[in-house]
């Protein structure tokens, strides 16, 4: 954990809160039909506070090829 105060006040406040909470993180979920399903209450809580759960790694092409178009 960083020992100096973050220059962004929003981030600094959140870090303080994180420290106060003892940095506890609990994730519950399951794999269903090959897909990850995080516990809905976890996601709902998170989406309300942090709606941008994206920033996904991309390594393959992003425009699916339509059969017969090649």
């Amino acid at each position: 954990m960083s020992s100096h105060k973050h220059p962004d006040p929003v981030v600094a406040d959140a870090i303080t809160k994180l420290e106060d909470e003892g940095r506890k993180v609990q994730i519950i979920g399951q794999i269903k039909n090959g897909k990850i399903e995080i516990d809905p209450s976890d996601l709902a809580d998170l989406a309300a506070k942090h709606p941008n759960l994206v920033f996904l790694a991309m390594n393959s092409p992003f425009d699916p090829v339509v059969p017969g178009s090649d």
Binding site: G34, L53, M58, V65
Partner: protein
């Protein structure tokens, strides 16, 4: 790889010190210079620089970095982001495995196969970061299940078409341009992840997490450089508008995808 006898550039330091708006072009330059011997790829470089100037990528802005910083102060957000990235890397590995199976050129087939194997390993590395930064955070039964996100591809296996992959097609310059752009964004994500993980990772685990991040970062640069080389080789096959037009069009597409992921237009 750095040229023999020359000091290796600390690509991570160079990229993280660069202004966010310059990071796409600098990531590409670092990738090209990281090869032994360094790659020139003049047509690729020119196309990328022109495209970035005409279609500024939202993922190369301070606003984008700030959204990540603000979100990732939440440990739960970061942990779920790592899980989501592991899953995405596993899916991407399957698409690349499929593409490798369809390549009719043996050299390209081997390069794409290597890429698929790397991404399959990356799925596991994201889970390793999860374990290191958030030990015991994930329900043990769920954590065990998560291992299936990596397809476990190895170089000893023969690539085959993965059911459901939309990339059962011969690889083209268009697909290489898409991969190149996507890999540059992923390289930039690693800068953001490193800073965020330092906030959450227990001090005792941080050196190991840093090694994992170094490995991921090196691989991304390698993927940027091999796709750049293939793009350069195939530049004359870019079609109407040439390579400049193709790269610009695909960057605009990817910018739209990035903005759509956030439900808003990101700019400084």
């Amino acid at each position: 790889m750095a040229a023999a006898g020359s000091p290796r550039i600390d690509a991570y330091a160079v990229l993280s010190d660069a202004p966010p708006t310059d990071r796409v072009a600098i990531a590409a330059e670092l990738a090209l210079s990281d090869r032994d011997p360094p790659l020139d790829c003049p047509a690729y470089r020119a196309a990328l620089r022109k495209a970035v100037s005409e279609e500024p990528p939202p993922f190369s802005t301070e606003a984008y970095a700030k959204i990540y910083r603000d979100s990732s102060v939440s440990g739960k957000w970061l942990a779920i982001s790592l899980i989501s990235n592991a899953q995405r890397e596993g899916q991407g590995a399957g698409d690349l495995w499929t593409l490798a199976a369809c390549a009719d050129n043996e050299a390209e087939r081997q390069l794409i196969k290597r890429h698929a194997v790397d991404e399959s390993r990356h799925a596991r590395l994201y889970l390793a970061l999860l374990d290191l930064a958030f030990p015991d955070a994930v329900d043990p039964a769920f954590r065990k299940e998560l291992d299936v996100v990596s397809p476990g591809f190895t170089m000893a296996q023969e690539p085959s078409v993965v059911v459901g992959s939309p990339y059962a097609t011969r690889p083209t310059i268009d697909l290489y341009v898409q991969m190149n752009i996507a890999e540059i964004r992923t390289t930039i994500h690693h800068l953001l992840q490193r800073a965020a993980l330092a906030l959450h990772c227990p001090a005792a685990n941080l050196p190991r997490a840093t090694k994992v991040l170094d490995s991921l970062f090196r691989d991304e640069l390698s993927h940027v450089s091999y796709t750049a080389e293939l793009i350069e080789t195939k530049a004359t096959a870019a079609g109407p508008g040439g390579l400049d037009g193709l790269y610009r069009r695909r960057l605009a597409d990817f910018n739209r995808i990035t903005n759509d992921e956030f439900g808003m237009t990101i700019h400084d």
